[in-house]
């Protein structure tokens, strides 16, 4: 019988550094069990002899397929509809009002929800706009949503949710935008068409170049997985992805004040958000 697969301390450190370089995600020592478990699963699935051979494949495989599979396994995709709803209220009552007041042309307003995870956030934004933003009569809105995890993106495109994911969604909206499919809730086709999903690694400058001209970015519960430098780097890329006057919303436990000085704090009645100042290139 073959030796049982193991991961020693040195392997862990090597892997941690490599994964950090690839994704910006930094695993603390306390995450050791979480990391080992997933690594061993992938080593088994790929019939790797030991950590070394698996790690070599991870690094040098030209397709990058195994790396993507591993990334998919390592990400934490926890999310639900209408999470931190006060920010959506802030969007329809305050941020968009300011944006259209400054808008000189009729080009669409662009919203970026990143990371999307399984899609609850971008679909939630679309529903919020349809329900609570009367100005939608006069303005087009484009919603783009992205994640590094390709399997979660497929689920997002599909739009099928458990009862748990929709538990904070008012019944009336649930009936209006979903249909029941056994124990699942399927979001309707119109909303699926309203959100464009793309794969992105936010710590990769080249990939970030392809996502631009946004008026509002929702980046919630992503930066918590990064170290300080990756946070700063990501915030700087967001700055250039935003139009002047554009807003960025972070998760409730995240604050831009300890990440980057590029943005201004804006207090609205519903929430505190961050803004690329008007007139800034």
């Amino acid at each position: 019988m073959a030796e049982p697969l193991t991961i020693n301390d040195e392997d862990f450190l090597k892997f941690r550094e490599f994964f950090y370089r690839k994704t910006g995600i930094l695993f603390e020592d306390s995450k050791r069990y979480f990391v080992d478990k997933r690594l061993l699963e992938r080593m088994n699935a790929t019939a790797s002899e030991n950590f070394r051979s698996y790690f070599t494949m991870l690094r040098f495989q030209t397709s990058g397929e195994e790396l993507q599979t591993l990334i998919n396994a390592m990400t934490v995709n926890e999310t639900y509809f209408f999470r931190e709803e006060y920010q959506f209220q802030c969007l329809v009552n305050s941020m968009l009002t300011e944006i259209i007041a400054h808008r000189k042309t009729e080009i669409p307003i662009r919203i970026w929800s990143v990371p999307s995870s399984s899609g609850e956030e971008p679909y939630g934004i679309a529903i919020y706009l349809l329900e609570y933003w009367p100005q939608l009569r006069n303005w087009d809105i484009e919603i783009i949503s992205s994640d590094i995890d390709t399997s979660i993106l497929n689920r997002a495109r599909h739009g099928r949710y458990s009862a748990r994911a929709v538990q904070y969604m008012p019944t009336i909206l649930l009936n209006k935008y979903f249909h029941r499919d056994g124990e699942y809730f399927q979001i309707n086709q119109e909303l699926r068409d309203a959100v464009e999903f793309t794969r992105i690694n936010v710590t990769d400058a080249a990939e970030m170049r392809t996502h631009r001209n946004f008026d509002v970015i929702f980046c919630r519960n992503l930066l918590i997985y990064f170290d300080d430098l990756s946070r700063k780097q990501t915030a700087e890329s967001f700055y250039d992805a935003l139009n002047p006057g554009g807003f960025i919303c972070l998760g409730h436990s995240e604050s831009m004040s300890r990440i980057s000085a590029l943005f201004r704090v804006r207090k609205f009645p519903e929430a505190i958000v961050y803004q690329k100042p008007w007139g800034m290139k």
Binding site: D140, I144, T198, Y239
Partner: protein
């Protein structure tokens, strides 16, 4: 006018479906529209994005172009010197931030020496940002610390002590003990004793007691040293 939630690829110029809503409750499929956003990106219009092109772009008059150049240079080698040169004359804070991020990622000797040069600049924003960058590079910065703690300029010594904060390096405590034992300057000692409260162990006790003797009339030193001693005693 009709209401529309439009769906478009972030990479523009792709046909896409849009959905039109006639009334608040009624949703129906609608036309296909062309992408609305400009496809050319300002900084790409002008230059080739190879290393030589990016180095030229680093001096462009548009800060957006400079930021993208500084960001994209990360993928090339031997670019620290050029980034440092730009950093020392750069006036736009957003570009300074991006250059520092790239230098921190590179972290080679030339980048470190560039960051250290920033300790002497009069530009407070640049100096403070460089100190922050150095804190993220414990192993790379460590060989320079002893030397910097002997700098004749007390400001440089204070900034160096600032760097030691959150520098996860095993030698931090012994550097701090040396400062509070040897440095004649009140505020350099003040900064060091500050940190000893966080990282100090039993080894720091004699030096802290001696410091209190050395500045008996300084309430701040007394306060900070007592605080450090209490924390050390509490383990």
């Amino acid at each position: 006018m009709t209401l529309a939630v439009v769906n478009v690829s972030p990479i523009a110029n792709k046909k896409f479906h849009s959905l039109l809503i006639k009334t608040k409750s009624e949703i129906e499929m609608a036309l296909t529209k062309a992408a609305s956003q400009p496809t050319t990106i300002e900084d790409e219009r002008q230059r080739i994005r190879d290393q030589a092109g990016l180095l030229i772009a680093l001096a462009d008059s548009n800060p957006l172009v400079r930021r993208w150049a500084a960001r994209d240079l990360l993928t090339y080698s031997n670019v620290s010197a050029a980034l440092v040169e730009r950093l020392l004359i750069e006036t736009e804070p957003s570009v300074i931030e991006v250059i520092l991020t790239t230098l921190t990622r590179i972290g080679d000797e030339c980048a470190i020496e560039g960051l250290i040069r920033c300790l002497r600049t009069e530009n407070a924003m640049l100096r403070n940002a460089a100190i922050e960058a150095m804190k993220l590079l414990p192993d790379e910065i460590a060989p320079f610390i002893s030397h910097l703690l002997n700098d004749p300029d007390p400001d440089v010594r204070i900034f160096t002590v600032d760097v030691l904060e959150s520098l996860r390096h095993p030698q931090v405590e012994s550097w701090l003990i040396r400062v509070i034992t040897e440095d004649a300057h009140l505020n350099v000692c003040g900064a060091a004793v500050d940190l000893l409260g966080e990282v100090g162990s039993e080894c720091a006790r004699p030096a802290l007691l001696a410091l209190k003797q050395r500045f008996p009339e300084e309430p701040y030193i007394q306060f900070a040293a007592d605080l450090a001693l209490t924390r050390i005693a509490a383990g």
